[in-house]
Symmetry: C2
Subunit: 473 residues, 2 copies
């Protein structure tokens, strides 16, 4: 039963399990107490902090354990912003950060702060220059900048060291969300704050890391608490902390070799999927990327059904398609990249994934996609359909323009209907798609780019939005 969603949560590493068991017996007491059970707990906590700090590459007193990566981000961003409140209230984040960062930014904005969201290219990568611009054009002095070490949905590695340099020159601390990369290696460069999450590297749930470099102004928010240097309230989750530190060290010991091996498997997926499945877009930076993660989107496929069919075939993957999110909007990462979101699949391989599982996935995938497309009445692969529109599609001819009414229809139907009628208009003619599905905003332009048609933009319609596409080929 291949589990290909390590980026959501990695299976527990054997070393984590072993350390957790040992610490359950030794580490249940309050490390703040003076008696032997407390002292023993304190020793375990101190040793875990030292081990984690060494692996991270910081001083032990710069690192605290939090209850999760999300809490590390929330508390870290709030503390850094408050610590520099006198300097300014401007926050810079990239558009492809984890939602915990974007939610913290929204809270900051709601509280009167200002936020700049730095865009990314089609590979999901920020340009360090964009941070220079954001710093220069900030509406007020910048208190903090945030950048992930690598993107959690498409695997693109960000230019953290260069961005940290740019920020340092401006005297602005950079917080790096290293959740996806810390198991693979330390975060390079002159960053000021760092966060991570243990269950992403094979540690237990219930443990995040927050590192605040000496000299960085930091003012913890919320009610005071003396634990974890006052930076993370609540009784320490000690057995899990011990397991987190031990497993990080263990994972790192084999990281280079395993990265190379998984990179090979991911290369295979990146190369083979477009060969095996027509109308696929592999997204994310092809070179500067996490070793174990690849994301692609399949035209004319409904992501939820695809996930379901893969699950039936015993492959567990995740998706950034709108139909798989509770809000029915596509992933903010894919939106920021401006790439196709329909039929989106993220494969993230856990440590030790056998090559045979990847091969089986590649064997299965084409049939699964074909089957889902067939069910949805998708057009023939890779050729704009030049046949009659399907009976249920309302097509109106208005001079040289066709209007497709896809109102009330969900991704991928609007794109399928567009693809079916584009052959109806002459080259130079226009198809307008009426849609009230959020995914259409992303997927219609993405389809045009993939199909070499001309996307002319959107305008509000009486109901929904009208998307104009001019036939070019």
């Amino acid at each position: 039963m291949p589990y290909f969603d390590a980026a959501s949560s990695a299976p527990l590493h054997p070393v984590a399990r072993q350390a957790l068991l040992a610490a359950l017996d030794e580490g249940w007491a309050d490390p703040a107490r003076l008696y032997r059970e407390g002292r023993r707990a304190r020793l375990l906590l101190d040793a875990a902090r030292e081990a984690a700090a060494e692996t991270v590459g910081c001083r032990p007193d710069e690192l605290v354990f939090t209850p999760s990566g999300t809490r590390a981000l929330h508390d870290g961003i709030a503390g850094a912003l408050a610590g520099r409140r006198r300097a300014g209230r401007h926050l810079i984040v990239s558009a492809v950060e984890h939602s915990a960062v974007l939610h913290a930014a929204a809270t900051h904005e709601a509280g009167g702060g200002t936020v700049t969201e730095v865009g990314v290219d089609r590979a999901g990568r920020v340009a360090p220059d964009a941070y220079v611009t954001a710093l220069r054009e900030a509406p007020e002095p910048t208190a903090l900048a945030c950048l992930q070490s690598a993107n959690h949905e498409v695997g693109t590695v960000q230019p953290v060291a260069e961005t940290a340099e740019v920020c340092a020159e401006a005297g602005v601390p950079l917080l790096v969300d290293a959740a996806q990369s810390l198991g693979w290696g330390p975060v390079d460069g002159n960053w000021s704050l760092m966060t991570a999450s243990a269950h992403k590297w094979g540690g237990p749930s219930g443990v995040g890391l927050l590192v605040v470099r000496k000299g960085v102004r930091f003012s913890p928010q919320g009610p005071a608490d003396e634990r974890e240097s006052g930076r993370s309230p609540g009784f320490e989750n000690l057995p899990a902390v011990v397991a987190a530190a031990a497993s990080l060290r263990a994972v790192r010991a084999g990281a280079d070799a395993e990265a190379e091996r998984l990179r090979g498997l991911v290369d295979r997926i990146r190369a083979r999927v477009p060969e095996l499945v027509p109308d696929v877009e592999v997204v994310g930076d092809p070179e500067r990327r996490l070793p174990h993660l690849v994301t692609f989107s399949c035209l004319y496929v409904d992501g939820e059904t695809l996930l379901h069919e893969l699950d039936r075939a015993e492959f567990s993957v995740s998706s950034g398609s709108s139909c798989t999110s509770s809000t029915l909007t596509p992933s903010h990462v894919l939106r920021a990249m401006g790439v196709l979101s329909e039929g989106n699949i993220r494969v993230s391989l856990p440590l030790g994934t056998p090559a045979a599982e990847v091969d089986r996935f590649l064997e299965l995938l084409p049939g699964v996609v074909r089957e889902v497309r067939g069910r949805l009445g998708a057009p023939e692969p890779a050729r704009p359909a030049a046949r009659e529109p399907a009976a249920e599609t309302a097509v109106e001819t208005a001079g040289p323009e066709l209007v497709v009414d896809s109102l009330g229809k969900r991704c991928p139907i609007p794109v399928i209907e567009l693809a079916k009628v584009i052959g109806e208009v002459p080259v130079g003619g226009v198809v307008t798609v009426l849609s009230d599905d959020e995914a259409a905003r992303l997927d219609i332009p993405a389809w045009c780019a993939m199909r070499d048609q001309e996307y002319e933009g959107e305008r509000p319609a009486e109901r929904g939005v009208a998307y104009r596409v001019r036939r070019r080929t």
Copy 2:
């Protein structure tokens, strides 16, 4: 090696350990995901929520899991206050709440809210009438009231049901911190919010509970997050949550019988300690109390040394004495009660404590106290010393008044010096103790009450504070 500090953290219950192990294998995936590992995690989470809700006596959708009892209190108080911001910004807490509540209250006050701290009697118990008064005399409409189910330091059970009634009549929600009592039984009465902490009942660390009754206005603060109904951000600590729910149920199944047994052991301590050790004050309500917890204070003893000596004798207890706190102030609970803080010992028995361990503690304690007192040059027990002051004590005779300069000396020295010289002045004469030790403020009046001397109050001195005591016997 008897561990008598269950109120800090209970040893892990065997059922918790077993459930945790099982859930490590089954529950590491993201319960928000649609594939089988995610669905399995979701089933475990749902089952844990149902089990916990049933034991608590609430609906499953009223209960969320938090990373700790402290976070449950911080987030619960903030959410309840924000949910009723339009009603008012007044918060009522008792003076003997857990520091997490008092810190949340301080944060509320710093943010412009108002707080009333309701006092307690010498047994540490609040009067429901005091909440009536606090509600009536509030500077603005009250948004929330907080009351613990039972005190964590002295074991006194609070009149929660009556207080909830009083609050309900005023239309004010009552938040009950049930951290110390939830293992023993559900919280009675018409409360609105409830919090608890798993490691207090033998569950793992890393899990708290926050219950918000349907109909209670609640507005989570901080950055948004979709997990746990938006009330507790961050990836669920699922194995620990499963262990918490299972162990709560297991602990409850045997709670009545074990409560009766431990109550017998605690009764023995309550009765025997004052017989075996002179100059001891047993504090906390003798009847309305937790079954497993007893606290007493020993005159003329330094709490830290006492703890250390008991630890050497292999007994692990905690203390509210100033010398055992990082701030060098006595426990706020003992202060609010106005009882002696020096030589303070809290004994809280874990489930299954053998009677023989309690007997051994009672055998050992008198010798340990005697030895520490001897080392500190404490006066003879239970008789005000009528002999020469020790050479190192500076005594000045000023008419009918003696001044003892205890500046720079820490608890219990100021009280020892007072006790040594009280016989120097005639009945009706006055001893003034100069002290800059925070504990003196509590312990000098407490000594007067225990010794039937008249405490005349304090006034600022050139250095420190002058405490006046008039000899009565």
